[in-house]
Amino acid sequence: MELRKNYFADQRKDDLHEIGQPRPRSDSPGHVTGKTAYFADRNFPGMLHLKMVRSPHHHARIRSINTSEAEKHPGVVKILTAKDVPHNVYTILILIQIGPEDETVLADGKVRWKGEAVVAVLAETERAAQEAAAKVKVDYEVLPAVFDMEEALKPGAPVVNEYHGQNYYLYDSGECRKVRFGDVEAGFAGADHILEQTYQSSPIEHAPTETTGCVVVPEGNDRFTCYTNTQAMFFTLDNASIILQMPGSKLHFVGGTVGGGFGGKVDVIVEPIAILGAKLTGRPVSFIYSREEEMQISSPRAAEKVVIKDGVMKDGRIVARKVTGYTDAGAYSRHSPYGAQKGAGHYPGPYTIPNVWIDTYCVYTNRTPSSAMRGFGVTIGDFALEVQMDKLARLIGMDPLEFRFINAYRDGDMKAHRQPTEGAALIECMQEASRAANWPVAEKYLAMSSYTKGA
């Protein structure tokens, strides 16, 4: 790594003692010698193991659940179904008033994705819990499912989630989050060229070294200690408090040392049901995702579809940009309404464009609910934007890097979401990339600055 101090030197005072120093990490020796204690390193006498019975169907009505065989399985201590969960229908962003509650801790009457949790089995060993889970009999009536976002948005598509009523999240702005800036149609009308392209991604796994999980211990004082690898301690505690209808003062969460998150550990999935198990059995409970659960059950990065229509002039200026983004939330909201909205605030990218129209949709389908992941609402959008930029440059016969200089935002430029640009540094990054990659650009671009308009 190289620190290039010649850029923005006038904005820094290099007078610090500890900041800017490459101090060795105090936790590294523990990590590399196996001495760091993670939540799963805690073992307690009498600890039970929780395993889930999961839906084999993408969309189905539950006619009946029969746990009698499973209950007789040696080692089984407790079996939980929807009726055992005090506040079974929840949604995590209800903490910031983003509803409706649309997801069940344990399925009640219906499953909406393949892998959805239906019954929780608590047993003396992981093996006994797994074997007993296989003996739970669930009678399903399979329903038509929808997997494609376009299909899901058509009239007459199967309704994925009745708590929404339609297959998209309803914002206060309507069926999508909108950004309107300038007059996009006038921009297109005056453009030398129009280019409309569609970009697509599919779900991506966070792949942390340590899978999602927790260990819960009922304490003598009627409190519960939850050792967890959540990325958000109070967010998880407060949601658990709602789901369990238990005062937050009864809950004590311990964590903060996590083997990779990447956004995959901000859903509140394992803690509430494990605390409930500990409460109902009076024994410590461990609930840890297998690698298979981590990959196919825990929320992935959402698949996205991004349609970009641009109007561009022969001289390289982009004069209009219209973006329609679709986020595949899967069967439940989790963080997806936020991600789609974050996308609306990110487009049209780090460029100053006078006419912008953005619509971002959060769409429900019968697949594993997606949620936050590194670059939430932005990563796939940047893929689409920057491939589009390459296509536009080639369309008008311009060097792709020079084309970006022409459109790059600078301090004071008004963004589409009506915030003035501050602290821009795109131009300087491109100048340095031009040098480092030996990608020559005209001298006038090397003379540009993020500080000011003009050459």
Binding site: S26, K342, E428, C429
Partner: protein, 334 residues
């Protein structure tokens, strides 16, 4: 049939924090009787090194070496509220809270030192080595060890501080989308070079040159680790990863690391990292959040490089050999 070489560029920015939800984090700082400092948080270290960075920020602010600071996180019985570690917010939000708490603690520390030295607190400075000196008369000094002892056993003072950093929630305006989704933006420009085998569709990433502007590199070694890791993840997203390879079909999803494709050590390109620092107005010592941003620009840079190499656009991620071959076949004159 040939191995064809191409290169592509991408430039991006990235918002720090989750303003659209309201974004608070708190911190507490106190000294032990012998002048070490505890930072108490409920923030989560995901392995990215948050504990170390909070220790350096506290040490810088109080004016002691980093090894005099211990970070205690995360315990909801003792640590004050943090929204969580996500949205590139950890260093920015918690760092600001730690600075505020550490400043308050430093002020008490200087007041106690002033009483011991019989001078005004405003005439004192720290030497960064564990001592408090009178400005302009450094021979008149007291160790922070002695100041802490005095505070605890003689003066009856608590060398401690409370820190709070809150970005109030921004509600997007319904019709126009006017909003404040972030406080500051990190930036990047990446140039990737690839080789594409037009017979097999296989992509070999040769070099990935990244320029990142991150506000301030609080710990350059750790910044390097995060940025290199992010750049590798970008390669992985571009060419390999998905839980649903035939999306929107649900079949053939990987369930372990044999089936779920990711690059191995041999698949990772020569990676270059260059860092620029334009301090953010509201960041702790100017830092922005580069945690998420650093994995993004490689993806379009590689897509553009593949086009440059073989002349086909793959607009669907991941850019697999199958997709490249199908596109080449569709493009070939019959």
């Amino acid at each position: 049939m040939a191995i064809r070489r191409g290169r592509g560029v991408a430039a991006i920015n990235y918002p720090t924090g989750m303003n659209l939800g309201g974004d608070p984090t708190q911190a507490l700082v106190h000294s032990t009787p012998t002048g070490n400092f505890m930072v108490t948080l409920s923030s989560v270290d995901l392995g990215q090194g948050m504990k170390q960075i909070m220790a350096q920020i506290c040490a810088e602010t109080i004016g002691v070496p980093t090894d005099r600071v211990v970070v205690d996180t995360a315990d909801t019985d003792t640590g004050p509220h943090c929204m969580g570690t996500f949205a590139s917010r950890g260093t920015h939000r918690a760092g600001n809270a730690v600075i505020q708490a550490a400043r308050e603690a430093r002020q008490v520390m200087l007041e106690v030192a002033a009483e011991e030295l019989e001078v005004n607190a405003s005439d004192l400075e720290t030497d960064g080595q564990g001592n408090i000196l009178v400005k302009g008369a450094p021979q008149k000094s007291i160790s922070i060890f002695d100041v802490a002892l005095s505070a605890h056993f003689k003066r009856g003072r608590s060398i401690s501080g409370r820190g709070m950093f809150l970005i109030p929630r921004s509600y997007p305006e319904k019709e126009t989308g006017a909003m404040k989704p972030s406080t500051c933006y990190a930036h990047a420009c990446t140039v990737a070079e690839v080789e594409v085998d037009d017979e097999t569709g296989e992509v070999t990433v040769l070099t990935v040159r990244n320029v990142f502007e991150i506000g301030r590199a609080l710990n350059p070694k750790m910044v390097e680790q995060q940025l290199v890791g992010g750049s590798w993840m970008g390669i992985s997203h571009a060419l390999y990863e998905t839980t649903e390879p035939y999306y929107p079909n649900r079949d053939h999803g990987g369930t372990d690391f044999n089936q779920y494709l990711m690059p191995g050590p041999g698949d990772l390109a020569q990676t270059e990292i260059i860092v620029l620092e334009r301090p953010s107005a509201d960041g702790p010592y100017g830092a922005k959040g580069p945690g998420e941003m650093c994995a993004n620009p490689q993806i379009p840079a590689m897509a553009n490089a593949v086009f440059d190499a073989v002349g086909v656009r793959i607009d669907t991620l991941p850019i697999t050999p199958e997709r490249i071959l199908r596109a080449l076949k569709a493009q070939a004159p019959n």
